[in-house]
Symmetry: C2
Subunit: 223 residues, 2 copies
């Protein structure tokens, strides 16, 4: 299984955004949409062995809240209500996932719309293969990626070619912003490896594409 | 210089499409938008050594028409009027290129809106670094990519790791459809190499990302 955990620092936590304004009013949801499609789609098909987890809201929250919104967190893109959410899209089960940003955003909006149905550690699943949980980054790593090798993608990491591709792997990466200090500290403790994919800094979705290619080719050896 | 020539088989040739419906009414312009951003953007910047050429319309046209539309080719997505158009986006000069599909589509729509200003082999340049010419695939290869090594990306090609990364390279790839027989024949004659990027078939924009990474790392050796 290939897992991609993407921390979104500027993403909406409610469905109150317009699909026509993903890169503006929706606080850069476009970045996360591209991560979902990069993680799960290839030509004419879905990668059934992959899942993408989008962590939005307060990623430092431990998650597992009481399941009742406090009514103050209904603003678009609010990152400060102390609640994190993780939307998981599972390649094995998702339906109607298309490569364009807009339709992917609609799928994610559906998950955010049902977020209050997620109670404790239990997810809501508004459509097949799309789940939302009250999980922050730490809980997502603990509860969702299992025993996978956790690989932090980072410009200061080890060259990816010096690492043996793991069978079960969870890549952790940030959106267009850097990890916060707390996230970085968590990953310093939790990641099994920290790798870089090349000399250039890539967008998160581009990094996912290269990571897949690295695994597809078993470390650039199998074509 | 890195050139990416993308043949769009289902793309509009006029500006009469809605930005809200890129993957439907605009005939999969979304695919070409992602190719532009994959080719020209990385984290927090533009690849100034790269250009993306989108060939739309009748790619088998030699291009270099007389500069006067016949009035019958004003339908959205019309591929059959015998005229091809190539929209070139130049990383060194483009302004206001953002990673989301919608704003990229607006940039391309501006080029299509000015297409009748392109006369013979002369381009129209409706905004800095965005040009449109009456060129098909063959003329684009002849006139725009200069002496670059022409590399066809194809699932039956040689493994990319067996090829030395050229200094000046023009990758030619197709959108979500295969090359037509005529395009394939042209490339059989014109391409210096035919390579594959891995065992899995990728989307065009994903292939561009991997191709960049191959060049960035000088064949997966420099990190």
């Amino acid at each position: 299984m290939r897992e991609f955990v993407v921390v979104g620092h500027e993403a909406p936590t409610t469905p109150d955004f317009a699909l026509d304004d993903l890169a503006g009013g929706a606080g850069r949801l476009d970045v996360l949409c591209r991560c979902v499609t990069a993680g799960l789609l290839f030509s004419h098909g879905v990668r059934e062995d992959a899942r993408v987890h989008l962590v939005v809201g307060d990623s430092e929250s431990g998650g597992g809240g009481d399941g009742h919104g406090d009514g103050a967190d209904d603003e678009r893109g609010d990152q400060g209500d102390g609640q994190a959410w993780t939307v998981t899209v599972d390649g094995a089960r998702v339906r109607r996932l298309n490569p364009d940003e807009r339709s992917t955003a609609a799928l994610l909006r559906g998950a955010l719309a049902d977020r209050e149905e997620a109670i404790g550690h239990l997810p809501a699943e508004p459509s097949p293969g799309v789940e939302i949980r009250r999980f922050g980054l730490e809980t997502t790593l603990d509860e969702l990626v299992g025993d996978a090798t956790v690989v932090e993608l980072h410009e200061d990491g080890e060259p990816v070619v010096d690492v043996t591709p793991p069978d079960e792997v969870a890549f952790v990466l940030s959106d267009h912003r850097d990890f916060t200090d707390a996230e970085a500290a968590l990953l310093a403790d939790r990641a099994d490896a920290r790798v870089r994919l090349g000399p250039e800094r890539l967008h998160a979705d581009q990094a996912i594409v290269v990571a897949h290619n690295w695994l597809d080719t078993d470390g650039f050896t199998r074509y």
